[in-house]
């Protein structure tokens, strides 16, 4: 029961910005910091070895990462104890 309440609270906290209709582009903070650095005139001296070719492929890989983690966590929590 406690866990359900805590989970509901977590979902509420995560959904609040959208439920409250907060204005914003909801861009990533990592990208904003990158832009703030670029604005100082700094030019990066290395590029990623490989980049996902599109937003879609990038979101696919993030989903794969989350799914792998979920799978691992689900296995441990749902395992039948012997």
């Amino acid at each position: 029961m406690t866990n359900r309440i805590l989970l509901a609270m977590a979902v509420l906290v995560m959904a609040a910005p959208l439920l409250l209709g907060i204005d914003g582009e909801f861009s990533g903070s990592d990208g904003q910091a990158q832009a703030a650095i670029a604005a100082t005139g700094y030019r990066p001296w290395a590029q990623p070895l490989w980049s996902p070719p599109s937003q879609e492929v990038e979101s696919l890989l993030f989903a794969v990462q989350a799914a792998l983690g979920g799978l691992g966590l689900g296995y441990v929590l749902g395992r039948r104890r012997r």
């Binding site: 406690t2 866990n3 805590l6 989970l7 609270m9 977590a10 906290v13 995560m14 609040a16 910005p17 959208l18 409250l20 907060i22 204005d23 914003g24 582009e25 909801f26 861009s27 990533g28 903070s29 990592d30 904003q32 910091a33 990158q34 703030a36 650095i37 100082t40 700094y42 990066p44 001296w45 290395a46 590029q47 990623p48 070895l49 490989w50 980049s51 996902p52 990038e58 890989l61 993030f62 989903a63 990462q65 989350a66 792998l68 983690g69 979920g70 799978l71 691992g72 966590l73 296995y75 441990v76 929590l77 395992r79 104890r81």
Partner: protein, 215 residues
């Protein structure tokens, strides 16, 4: 908290790599020893690693109108101690640097230090002192996970301020600028991470995967 590939000057990139490396090496040794002496902890360790995988993949909206992601490193820091998390965090950061172009190899040291070293140590220290001060187990876990999450982003802001001081205001002004991007956005996410960590710790404890997290 990911500093992108090439986005730290060479001296800083090398410096943070040198600072982070001993933590990862010592963490690896601790981890190997723990698993040799307590092979039954394999499952719990897998769960802690999986938790980092899930949480650091979730880019969540925040009340500032930006998105950011939690780190998930507090859970393992409390269950296994911070050294183990240096290894697990590095694995996740490597995955993201190589497959997602998120973070980078030149900035891996800096990112490992913020997410896999500073965050876990702060989480562990906050959790432990809360317990010592008499806080209930769940409250201590919540505080540890939330403040560890926040600490990671404050450290990133500090790393960027050191590398890119403001022309007028110096490091302090630059820190205010980067903390403005990272830290405020992170507050609700840190609360969410704290709540989720309590749920997962409860679930793992109920199934006997981790013994009552000790302080």
């Amino acid at each position: 908290m990911h500093i992108m590939e090439g986005f730290l000057p060479v001296a800083h990139a090398v410096g943070w790599t040198a600072v982070a490396a001993p933590f990862v090496v010592l963490g690896g040794r601790t981890l190997v020893r723990t698993l040799r002496e307590h092979p039954e902890q394999r499952l719990a360790l897998g769960a802690a690693g999986a938790f980092v995988f899930v949480l650091s993949a979730l880019k969540l909206p925040s009340v500032t109108g930006s998105c950011s992601h939690p780190t998930g490193t507090g859970l393992g820091a409390m269950a296994f101690g911070p050294p183990a998390m240096a290894v697990l965090g590095t694995m996740v950061l490597l995955f993201q640097a190589l497959l997602l172009a998120h973070g980078g190899l030149t900035t891996l040291g800096a990112n490992v230090f913020s997410m896999a070293v500073a965050g876990p140590w702060v989480a562990w220290a906050v959790w432990r002192s809360s317990r010592r001060l008499g806080a209930a187990s769940a409250v201590a876990v919540f505080l540890g996970a939330a403040l560890g999450d926040l600490a990671t982003y404050v450290v990133t802001a500090g790393q960027l301020a050191l590398a890119f001081p403001d022309a007028q205001g110096g490091i302090a002004a630059a820190f205010a600028k980067f903390a403005g991007i990272f830290a405020v956005t992170q507050v609700p996410l840190a609360v969410a991470e704290g709540l989720l960590t309590v749920v997962v710790v409860n679930a793992l404890t109920a199934r006997g995967v981790i013994t009552e997290v000790r302080a």
